[in-house]
Amino acid sequence: MKVPIWFIIWTVIICFDVIAQGDNVFEKLVVTNNIIDKHFEDKKQVILYKRRSLLKPDKKIKILNPIYWVSAGLIYLYQNVISEQIQSDCIYNVSCSEYMKQSIKQLGFIEGAMNGWYQFINCHGWAPGVYPEYKFLPNGKINNVIDERISE
C-alpha cells in the first residue's frame, strides 16, 4: 500500500504542533500557580490563558448547516493551536480571525468570509497610511468596525 508523502509530512507537523501546544499550556499553568497567585493581589489585571470560544450561530437551524461547522472548526483550530504558536501582534484592534468570526456571524458565510479575508489582505506595514487620524486608538491600533456605514 502506497502512502502519499504529503500526508506523512502534514501528520508529523500537526503532531509537533499539538505537543508544542501542550507544553505552552503547561508553562502557563506553572506561571499562574507559582507567580501570579503570590505576587499579584488583583488577578483581574493579569490576562490568564483562556481557550477562545467556538463560533456560535444566531439561530439553532444553522447547526444543521455543514458550512457552519467547517468555518467554525477551522477558525477554532487556528485560534487555539496555530495562533498560539505564532505569537503575532496585529495592527488592528480586533484580530483577523476574531474579525472573520464576527463578520460571518453578522453577514453570513460567503460575505463574512470575504470581509474577513479582505482585512487579512490589508494587514501589512503600510495599512496605517490608508486610515484617517481618528481611526487610531490610544494604544496605536486601528479601530476596525465590520460595517462603518451602519455603526458610525
Binding site: 504529503w6 460575505e111 468570509a113 470575504m114 470581509n115 479575508w117 479582505y118 489582505i121 490589508n122 501589512h124 503600510w126 495599512a127 497610511g129 490608508v130 486610515y131 484617517p132 487620524e133 481618528y134 481611526k135 462603518e148 456605514r149 458610525e152
Partner: protein
Amino acid sequence: MLLMKEYQNNYYLVIFIFLNLFIGSSQTSSYTFEQYLINQRLKTDHWTYIHFLEKNHLTTEDTIHFYKARYYLNYDEDTLFLKHYFKSKQLFQKDSCHLIKASISALRWSKKSQEQWFLSLDTDLVCKEFKLKEINKIWWSGNKPLNFSAEEFPYPLQKDFLVLQKSVKKKKWKSVLLSVVVPGLGQYYLGQKQTFYIILLQHLLVGGMAAESIYRLGYKNIYSIFTIGVFGTFYFSNIYGAYKETDQIKVRYKKQFYIDAANYYNFYNCQY
C-alpha cells in the same frame, strides 16, 4: 499641610453649596456655582445638586430638564442630553452660548443623534448667531459636499473638505470593474496606493503558485485545487473589498472632517 488644605477646600465647598441652595430656593438659578462644579469636574456633586433641587421642588420642571441637559452636555452623553433637551427646548434655545457648545460637540456624535440635533434647530436662531450658522453649515456640507466649495471654510479645514469632496465623486461600479481587470486597481482609484501595491504582489505570488501547480500537476491534483482555491479567495475578496471601501471611505473622511471642525471651534467657552 496637604490634609489641612483638603479639609479647608471641603469646608468652603459645604458653605458654597449651602448658600447656593438658599439662593436656589428663591427661584433663581446659580450659574457661577454650576460653572465651578463643571470646572472642577465634580460630577457626583453636580448630580446631587440637581437631584436636591428636583426632590424638594425648588424649581419648575422645565428648568430641571434644562439643568440636566446642560449636565449631560458637559459630560458628553449625547442620548441623555437630547432626551432632556427636547423636554426643555424653549428654555435651552434662549441660552445661545450652550446652543453653540452643543452644536460643536454634536459634530462628534453618532449620525442619528447628529440628525436629531441639527434638524431641531430653528432657522431664525441659526441666522441670528454667526457661529451657530457656521457650524450648521459644516454639518450640511458634510452631508452634501458637492453643493459647497472649500473656500467657504477656514483654512485648516479646507484640506479635509477637498478629500471628502473627492471621495464622494468615487463610483462603485468603476472601482469594482478596475479591481476585476487588475487586482488592487480599484483601491488605487479610491486613493489607497499602498494597498494596491500589496494586493498586486500577493496576487502575483499566489497566482504564480497556482499556475505552476496547474502546469506541472494538472487540474485534478489536490495541491493545484488548493492553490486555485486560495487564489480565488484572494481575488473575490479583493473585488468585495473595493465594493465595500467606496462606501466606507465616504463615512471615514466625513467623520474626520467633523472631528477636525469640532477641534477647530473647541476654544469656545461659555462665560456666565
